[in-house]
């Protein structure tokens, strides 16, 4: 492959595509422009009660049964937090982040969606709307568009397709490890000509050329031998790819990672088992992200979210069914952590949503608002008008980001 800049410069010279904001941002050294945001979506509905276990809740053992984790200090026990909570024993990196003040936990949150379809719930989580199909683009895409033009406002998704949360932004792109030989620059230029006037293929190819420049510049093609493997073993490779793209000079302001496989209807397990395996994979990925980002970590906020929680009680097949409230993590060097955010409704039978699920106490959009407002400096009016137009009285959670 030709040096990236050659290809990119040639394409820019033809005027075949325009990169909103990105070219200008390279010359900017404003601190706000270097503030990175990583959104990690755990698709399939992660059991928040297993990730951050409320072992001190008087109803915990009764409600969770065989899914309950042992207390801190016991064999396979939780890693102690405060207020009667403990992290799953496989989340050692997250625990070290908590101890160093780089992890905040929202113990009972959800999007406004109150049904139990994965697909509709992910739609609401990603559009940021109040109801299913409330918007056709994503809240992060809209947020990037609302950023002041002098700041970096581009993003990359580590996946083949662009996730809904980034749709609507002209400067969002997607990237995934590849094993095929690169297409020749000449062929790409001819295709760019052929795609003039094609509003699907034209922008997609232009964006891909731009992104592959950064990724291949750091030697990523072919280096991710395990990156395409499905399952929790793959999370780490994807996180490493994100860290390299983000920390590259002129790298994007945001990255979106999707980790699949959290729909644990059967044999979920407790300290060991299906879910424990995924949590270990998640922990390894987040550790790799921090290590890969190097000093950029101190300017980074990572939000780890899922579309909804799972039933508090075990179902008939050793797993859990679709629920409502779950846990969200806010992690990173720019996070003011070591604390919980939002209320804890408790596990008393009467406190549960519809008698079966953790009742959400926090609208997950308030967490996103904290990042956009306090980390990226979007003003409240722009947030309300352009990013979350139907969020009603939802406001940012104060004090989660070092400003």
């Amino acid at each position: 492959m030709l040096p990236l800049l050659t290809r990119r410069a040639a394409l820019l010279a033809t005027g075949a595509f325009a990169l909103a904001g990105s070219a200008g941002a390279l010359t900017l050294s404003s601190q706000a422009g270097e503030r990175k945001f990583v959104l990690v979506i755990l698709r399939g509905a992660m059991d928040g009660l297993a990730a951050a276990a409320p072992y001190g809740d008087t109803h915990y053992l009764a409600a969770r049964g065989k899914l309950a984790l042992a207390g801190p200090g016991e064999t396979n026990g939780v890693l102690p937090l405060t207020e009667g909570f403990g992290l799953h024993p496989n989340l050692a990196f997250l625990h070290s982040a908590w101890t160093s003040g780089a992890l905040a936990i929202v113990p009972a949150c959800a999007s406004p969606y109150r049904e139990r379809s994965h697909f509709d719930a992910q739609d609401v989580l990603e559009t940021g709307a109040s109801a299913v199909f409330g918007a056709s683009d994503g809240w992060l895409g809209r947020a990037l568009n609302a950023m002041p033009p002098e700041l970096k406002r581009d993003a990359v998704a580590i996946s083949g397709a662009l996730p809904l949360v980034l749709r609507g932004s002209a400067s969002a792109t997607s990237w995934a490890p590849s094993f095929a030989p690169s297409a020749s620059d000449d062929t790409l230029n001819r295709l760019m000509d052929l795609y003039a006037g094609d509003d699907v293929l034209g922008p997609a190819l232009a964006s891909a050329i731009e992104t592959s420049a950064i990724a291949s510049g750091s030697g990523m093609d072919g280096a991710e031998g395990k990156g395409r493997r499905a399952g929790p073993g793959a999370y780490k490779g994807l996180a490493e790819a994100a860290s390299r793209l983000l920390s590259a000079e002129g790298g994007p302001a945001a990255a979106v990672l999707s980790f699949d496989g959290w729909d644990t209807h059967a044999n979920q397990g407790a300290a060991n088992g299906q879910l424990a395996l995924r949590l270990a994979g998640l922990d390894a990925a987040l550790r790799a992200l921090k290590e890969g980002l190097g000093k950029t970590w101190s300017n980074t906020v990572v939000a780890v979210v899922t579309e909804f929680g799972r039933t508090v009680s075990e179902n008939g097949t050793g797993g859990t069914d679709h629920g409502t409230g779950s846990t969200a993590f806010l992690l990173g060097g720019a996070v003011s952590g070591g604390k919980f955010a939002g209320d804890w409704p408790g596990l008393a039978p009467k406190a549960l949503f519809e008698g079966r699920d953790l009742r959400p106490a926090t609208d997950i959009r308030s967490l996103f608002m904290s990042v956009l407002q306090d980390h990226w400096g979007l003003d409240r009016a722009a947030l309300g008008k352009r990013v979350f137009p139907d969020a009603g009285g939802v406001v940012a959670i104060p004090g989660l980001v070092r400003t």
């Binding site: 994965h118 001819r190 052929l194 795609y195 073993g233 059967a266 060991n272 097949t317 679709h322």
Partner: protein
């Protein structure tokens, strides 16, 4: 519209892309060419050859489950990678089944002369997703398609839904096989119970749709009605001694006793008749007609199909009692389906198959087949969720996906050799739909391989 343009639409939009000479074969009367494929069972059937039956798949799964039983304990000490490897070896025979299924389906798609029928199989197989992404459903994904989907294409949707729900692939993929009514004989004795996954996905994805008007109470009631629907396996065979592995069995000891109420209707039936009655009512519900009509129109016309086309399909569904050949025949009659401009962006699978058909390849190298599907982002039988593969340009035309298509197209074109005549190949596949601009770009290419890459990646070949 000229007959040749209609032939191009019939073969490319309704079919899997033209093979050399196929435009001519469809050309005399393209609509009749399509309609002929619908009512004949032979259009849909495949010879299983050495591929496993449902029973053989069930036996293979049993062997696998026995092999990993011992390895489960202590697995928590291993790294995620090591744990994956610990189950890889016993998984190999199951994966071999999957590879054979992928090969067989690909060969079928490349050689079939009834490619509209094949497209319908792929559409309905995706609607009733049994993904090989889970070990327990892995060996059944292919046989489910053969024995349920293909066999059901000349009947009604209700029969297809019932057959799908009874098949081990579906029962295992969506966790139904061990769902136990809390007040059943088994439920009262053991610490096991209800699993509502299959009931929910039938309501949400296979029939009414998420906006179709059901509640959580309907999900739970339906799940209770389905308790007892299982398959003959190591444990359940003791309960139903006459059954062979892989047979559908109704296990009375698992079934929640009593009448159920779903969508406002009371079902007092006993045994499996209760679940089947609910399934048949769901198939006949107007929300189901509407949802299936929209999915079909979206698949064959455009991401945002015209309301009139959707309504025509829904009406046909209601009027025919969900008779699939009738609904598919209505699809052929829709004016919106014959607009000259191709508006559907091909899925990776459609792109891959049409590119191979364009060259008229009599056979393919199986080595690397799955890698190619993987590179393009859609390995057969491995849909990421029960919702199946997405069906819109926004999901398939991302920047990375487009560059992967180019990379694959280039490698494929180079492998085909230098004696190609790419412009003739493109015209043979697209007919009058090949634009002057693309033809000129192909003609000006620096070589035959680049010319074919440009043809395959042209806006008109990327769509159908």
């Amino acid at each position: 519209m000229t007959a040749t343009l209609m032939a191009s639409i019939a073969v490319n939009r309704f079919g899997l892309g033209a093979r050399p000479g196929e435009l001519g074969a469809a050309g005399a009367d393209p609509k009749a060419w399509l309609a002929r494929q619908l009512k004949d069972k032979a259009s849909f059937a495949v010879k299983p050859g050495t591929l496993p039956t449902t029973r053989a798949a069930a036996l293979a799964l049993g062997t696998y489950l026995d092999a990993i039983k011992d390895k489960r304990s202590g697995a928590g000490k291993l790294s995620p990678e090591a744990q994956e490897d610990a189950v890889l070896k016993p998984l190999k025979p199951l994966r071999d089944i999957l590879m054979a299924e992928i090969e067989a389906r690909t060969l079928r798609a490349l050689t079939t002369e009834t490619s509209f029928a094949e497209r319908l199989v792929l559409f309905w197989s995706n609607h009733f997703t049994v993904s090989a992404g889970k070990a327990v459903s892995l060996p059944f994904a292919g046989v489910f398609e053969r024995e349920v989907i293909r066999a059901g294409m000349t009947g009604t949707f209700a029969d297809l839904l019932v057959a799908s729900t009874r098949h081990p692939g579906m029962l295992l993929y969506l966790d139904q096989a061990q769902s136990i009514g809390p007040n059943s004989v088994a439920g009262k004795r053991r610490d096991k119970g209800l699993n509502e996954n299959l009931a929910r996905e039938i309501l949400e994805l296979q029939t009414l749709g998420a906006q179709g008007g059901y509640t959580q109470a309907d999900v739970t009631e339906f799940a209770k009605a389905l308790t007892g629907w299982s398959l003959a396996g190591a444990r359940t065979r003791k309960l139903v001694p006459t059954a062979e592995p892989g047979d559908f069995v109704f296990i009375d000891r698992f079934h929640e006793p009593g009448a159920r109420t779903v969508m406002g209707k009371r079902y007092a039936e006993k045994d499996e008749a209760q679940g089947e009655a609910i399934l048949r009512d769901l198939a006949g519900h107007p929300s189901t007609a509407q949802r299936l009509a929209l999915k079909l129109a979206r698949h064959f016309i455009s991401d945002e199909p015209p309301a009139a086309a959707v309504e025509a399909l829904a009406k046909s569904y209601r009027a025919s009692g969900g008779h699939l050949p009738s609904v598919h025949d209505t699809l052929i009659s829709l004016e919106a389906a014959w607009q000259p401009e191709a508006r559907k962006f091909k899925s990776p699978n459609e792109f891959f198959l049409s590119a191979l058909r364009l060259a008229g390849l009599p056979k393919i190298e199986m080595k690397g087949l799955v890698a190619a599907y993987g590179l393009l982002g859609q390995v057969p039988y491995q849909a990421p969720s029960p919702e199946g593969w997405p069906d819109d340009a926004a999901s398939w035309a991302g920047p990375d996906a487009v560059i992967k298509r180019i990379e694959w197209a280039q490698a494929y074109s180079e492998r085909l050799g230098s004696k190609l005549r790419p412009e003739d190949m493109a015209r043979g596949a697209l007919g009058p739909a090949l634009s002057a601009r693309t033809a000129q770009s192909i003609a000006r290419a620096e070589g035959a391989a680049q010319g074919l890459t440009l043809a395959l990646m042209s806006p008109e070949f990327q769509r159908r």
